[in-house]
């Protein structure tokens, strides 16, 4: 008979092993799935996980998709550590793209050297402004930030849709719902020639380092961690809950907004109806796989990016539906949450109860 038993202290080994176990679980289930679909699993795995990164271009694509995932994941992880459940990074990303894109359209054909820096700044501010709404509602009216951030995602997408269908639609665009393409001054330069990867990945990695220093070395980072681990202790120590909520949401708004503007100023090159295949949502999984640790998030983002590439390759190479990406993402999160149980619990083999309690008394009864 097996029994779940709480560990005396959480296992630090399991907390590292859990994402690896989750990845293995995902692969095994994927194996069965391909088998059932009548595809050769080995070939499918090769197509899914190896072929996409077997060329320089492929590596570029991997880093390209890693950028928004990493940026959003970093911001989310810092918030999650502080018990701020922002699940609307997708909306903050969209707003960042709109704000940055707006600046790009305002510069138009200008060759100004200020165009790109101002775009990036606008993107950051746009994401922060969007995240300020749930921060204000939560700190002023105690509104649940999970609902507000999620609902704001759809609002931001509708705003973008209205802009590209209406005021910002390209007059020469054959009525496609998209803006004018950005000029060279409004586009980020390519990092590795022969690929599409931009300087955005460098910014993202730099920010991962900054986030690590913030969470490990600064008192503000410590306060946020205390708020997440023991809210009552934070109140007792006098750490302001409102300040923590604002900091958490502002940081995530900024990084997600930057992710948005890096997309439109990079591979997309204009504003269009859809600018993200759900990076902001996938980043929630990235944050958890990365154990809410900035360096862990880097690896989480790389893995998630590979899933996006693999999903695309599987659609093209094997004629599988696009849902395959979401399916693998879901499997990964599912197994991760399951494996996380064993951080605080362990399985113990217990002997059947009867053997113990029906044993005859070993000594004389202690009648006083």
């Amino acid at each position: 008979m097996l029994k779940l038993e709480r560990r005396a202290t959480p296992s630090s080994i399991m907390s590292v092993a859990s994402p690896l176990l989750a990845a293995v679980g995902m692969l095994i289930t994927g194996f069965v799935l391909f088998k059932v679909l009548g595809k050769d699993p080995v070939e499918a795995f090769y197509l899914f996980f190896v072929k996409p990164v077997s060329t320089t271009y492929g590596i570029g694509e991997l880093l390209l998709k890693t950028t928004p995932l990493l940026l959003c994941g970093l911001g989310l992880a810092l918030g999650f550590r502080a018990n701020v459940w922002n699940i609307g990074a997708e909306g903050q990303l969209t707003m960042g793209a709109i704000a940055g894109g707006g600046v790009a359209l305002w510069f138009g054909d200008s060759e100004s050297a200020f165009a790109l820096p101002l775009m990036l700044l606008a993107g950051v501010l746009g994401g922060m402004a969007w995240a300020a709404i749930p921060a204000f509602l939560r700190t002023r009216f105690n509104t649940n930030e999970i609902l507000v951030t999620l609902m704001l995602v759809y609002i931001s997408q509708l705003v973008l849709s209205w802009l590209v269908h209406g005021p910002w639609r390209d007059p020469q665009g054959l009525n496609y719902p998209q803006s004018q393409g950005f000029g060279d001054a409004e586009t980020m330069s390519i990092l590795i020639s022969g690929t599409r990867v931009t300087w955005g990945i460098v910014y993202a990695l730099g920010l991962a380092l900054v986030a690590w220093i913030f969470s490990q070395k600064t008192f503000a980072g410590f306060r946020m961690q205390v708020a997440g681990l023991a809210p009552a202790a934070a109140a007792y120590a006098g750490f302001s809950e409102k300040r923590n909520i604002w900091i958490a949401l502002m940081i995530c708004g900024a990084t997600a907004g930057l992710a948005g503007v890096c997309e439109v100023a990079g591979p997309i090159g204009r504003l269009q109806q859809q600018i993200s295949p759900g990076y902001g949502f996938a980043a929630i999984i990235v944050a958890w796989i990365g154990r809410l640790h900035p360096i862990g998030v880097v690896f989480g983002a790389l893995l998630m990016s590979l899933l996006y590439l693999g999903g695309e390759a599987a659609q093209m190479g094997m004629g599988l539906p696009s849902a395959i990406t979401g399916l693998f993402q879901g499997l990964l999160l599912f197994y991760l949450l399951a494996a996380d149980l064993f951080i605080t619990f362990r399985l113990k083999r217990v002997a059947p109860v009867e053997v113990n309690t029906l044993k005859p008394p070993v000594r004389a009864e202690t009648a006083a």
Binding site: T9, F222, Q225, V226, A230, A232, A233, V353, T357, E365
Partner: protein, 526 residues
Amino acid sequence: MDQSGFADLKPRLVLTGITKRYPSVVANDDVSLSIRPGEIHAVLGENGAGKSTLMKMIYGVTKPDAGTIMWNGQYETIAAPAQARRMGIGMVFQHFSLFETLTVWENIALALDEPVPTAKLASQITEVSEKYGLPIDPYRLVHSMSVGERQRVEIVRCLLQEPKLLIMDEPTSVLTPQAVLILFKTLRRLAAEGCSILYISHKLDEIRALCDTATVLRGGRVSGTAIPRNETNESLARMMIGGELAECRLAPREAKEERLKVERLSLTSPDPFGTSLKDVSLTVRSGEILGIAGVSGNGQKELMTALSGERLSPASMIKLLGQPAGNLNPAQRRAVGLTFVPEERLGRGAVPPMSLAQNALLTGARKGMVQRGIIHPSVMKTFSKNVIERFKVKCGGDQSVASSLSGGNLQKFIVGRETMLQPRMMIVAQPTWGVDVGAAQLIRQALIDLRDQGVAILVISEELDELFAISDRLAVIADGRLSPSVKPAETSIEQIGTWMSGKFGDRADDRAASANAHLETANAQA
């Protein structure tokens, strides 16, 4: 009742070699005891000695890893509380499990294993409760009842099932001294009718007054058995802690300037079932300890949050070192010189998964651990090492996580941390709640030393003995109102007990209060 009166009776319950292991601790190791019909048997031990674990195994909440349970001469495996109840075992837990929005009879009906018609149940409740001197109205809503009355509901709930064995887990910690006497009468009556009672406590006087026999546990093992009325407090304590009880000394000392002054503080509790503070006034001066007694749930929590700044009030109602502080948040009050030991250690006083060094940073940021927003780990380490050393905190070092410490050791760390922040005013809630006797002594002495250095200290506690031992002045909180304060030498347990039931507010007492206030000012001028 005479001890020899049981000699010819067959034991009702015999435990033999009971052992229960948890991942980090052996809670019970080869524990044996036996109890006969009509016997009141004390299970005595410090916190963490394994009393509650043992009782839970008798009541079927957990199962022993080894050992046997014999009930009325038959070996039994008690798989669940429902089975224990069917066998005739009832248990009144230390923490009640009542639904506050339901009435008494609804709560009792929920706990019954067999459905009983309402009218019949209500009349049964009235009948049983009156028979045993615990009158309760079956149609009253639980949230309107005091803690003592709620305990009656729990007891009546057990009695309705006509138990052969009643387990009481620390029943007096929520009662006034008068209510304790009523409870004892009830228990003696039950025993006279043949019900066996297992009475868990660490209060030696009570056990000597009530119990026929005692089993003493220490560190999960039986350290002795005794007939309490033939023992002294000292001899029982020696069995319980394995050493002598030290006395703490409170040398008379003159209080100096006012450090904390609360004037006519009224605060409505945001919790509908909480207690609102009504017109609370108090002063604490440099070099004195003011003790606040009271049955739990009478506004202690609300007073604590108002004083700590977790709940704000009009600025002038609270003065800290002469400066209006009602509208200051906890961090600002700490900056003025207030430190604070909360009742709840894990989760409020300390962050469970963080190391002791990080927990030093929780309130010690002003002691050089943070400079320009950056944490300085070496300062944190030195500070927490000093606390660990000076307060004899048993732990693996400053990197041990808070949740790995025992309650008493964590409390020593928290009291030590708040002490070494060099406060000018310190507020302590339940300083020794759940702490073993040795650690309790160390903590009380630390508070007295601090007082002797001129710090003003406010202690809120439910342990009357403790308050009488360490307070320069004593006051009682009841239903959100605070009594006038008196010197321990000029009052008695009985008077404090009367105050604990809220009887200090009539006109005569008000006059006494103002007379007392005059006395206080006279003292201050002297």
